[in-house]
Symmetry: C2
Subunit: 244 residues, 2 copies
DNA sequence: AGACCGCCTTGAACCCGTTCGACGCCGTCC
DNA sequence: GGACGGCGTCGAACGGGTTCAAGGCGGTCT
């Protein structure tokens, strides 16, 4: 155990072990913090459990809080005036949700599964950022990562064929799982066909047809609902690259 | 004039006036700096002029430098294995180009016009960020802005019809011009139809047809090559919103 | 059990944007 | 001047993905 543990308050003892297993500690905002700083962050933040389909926040809500997804899956969506929605991203354990410089959140954040989230008031975050410059640096790094991923997604949606988009989506799930330290061929995929379609700029029928095609070619399996097994990762990534 | 000017070195006197008119000072990284800090930044950075079609850097180059576009226009592109390119964004006077946490640049940066750029070695930037926390904050803000714009672009490419995408593109030009403090109905548009098409996930023919359609409807004019006049901004933004 | 509902799958027809081809315009290079 | 190449425009045919429609499967509620 960490040598700092001995001097922690009982309160901290209760909260920190939770933090140690949090995705944020592994790949997210809290990764660069030492134990003392982690204590402070964790004592200022509020952990809550929420059920699937809860809204963490809505597009247009005042952006007064920042969230970390401790466990679970979420989707971020923007609504178009004509009613169609675009999924701008999915979020996994450890990811930060809702950091923006805008006065209001620019998208909806909806949980796809029962989840645990960690909540911080905006003012508290700003104070922490001032106190621990390493946190601000970390925010910037995460933001740049996010920007790169979104640009990648732009390429996917803008230039790839339907099947190549679905293949690229599967690869992004593999990558997200790897980043969380679980390199595994069987992946959680809690999003519906419609969610995936809205992410890829396709219809749910096309997504369904593509996944069926992959299954028939023996590239993937779906042992149970909302779980994919990547059988032939190479074939999928070749298709995503357009080498078809 | 600024009271700090009196104590400046002759060298600073030569460089700072340039900075004061730089786009970065108005809308970019240097915006929050006081005169003393601006002196330091400007003395560490190298200004150069480059001609149209120069590459600022290429995808895969070691990301050792950060650039600010002082004057001019640039496009950022990613190349797909099959040879197609996706324009991931355009950059205008004042914008930062090439900041990444990755070891290499994730896209090409090519100038569309003769431009002036301001160059900073990565190590110098890191030192400045440590010295002036306000700069790090500013980087984060710019990154979040950029992320929001890219997500907006994702919606455009993913869910809008061809004409709506072109309309949205025109609006983004208006917005970029406004941000640089030049709210004007006649805009520079140095990119070719092919560039626009690659940005919007369309072909150049479709872009050409859409712009022709807008012209025939009297929504825009193109008085000279590479310049658009927004005659009926309302009609364009209604189309972009999908209210057609 | 039966009815209902959300989600997924599959088929067939259609349509929007692409592809392919041709041409015009303009600037540059022999 | 003439040839060439980059860029933009336009028409006709094609095709990938959408739209529309029907049906299946697995839950949950009554």
């Amino acid at each position: 155990m960490n040598p700092f543990d001995a001097v922690r308050s009982p309160e901290a003892l209760a909260t920190v072990p939770v933090c140690d297993r949090c995705g944020s500690r592994i790949a997210g905002l809290c990764q660069p913090l030492d134990s003392a700083a982690l204590d402070e962050v964790s004592s200022e933040s509020q952990q809550t459990s929420l059920t699937a389909h809860s809204m963490v926040f809505r597009e247009g809500d005042p952006a007064g809080r920042i969230f970390t997804l401790v466990e679970g899956f979420a989707k971020l969506t923007r609504l178009l005036p004509d009613g169609k929605q675009q999924v701008v991203g999915f979020r996994f354990a450890g990811d930060v949700i809702g950091y923006t410089t805008l006065p209001t959140y620019p998208f909806d954040a909806e949980l796809l599964t029962d989840s645990r989230i960690c909540r911080l008031e905006r003012g508290q975050l700003d104070a922490l950022l001032r106190r621990y410059p390493v946190l601000e640096r970390r925010m910037l790094d995460l933001c740049v990562q996010e920007l790169t991923a979104t640009q990648e997604q732009l390429v996917t949606v803008g230039r790839r064929s339907a099947e190549a988009r679905v293949a690229a989506f599967l690869l992004s799930l593999v990558e997200a799982s790897r980043r969380r330290g679980k390199p595994c061929t069987v992946l959680e995929m809690p999003m519906t066909r419609a969610d995936i379609a809205d992410f890829l700029g396709l219809t749910l029928e096309t997504v369904s047809r593509s996944l069926t095609a992959f299954r028939k070619r023996g590239w993937i399996r779906e042992p149970v609902h909302h779980r994919v097994e990547m059988v032939n990762l190479r074939a999928v990534s070749d298709l995503a690259e357009g080498l078809s």
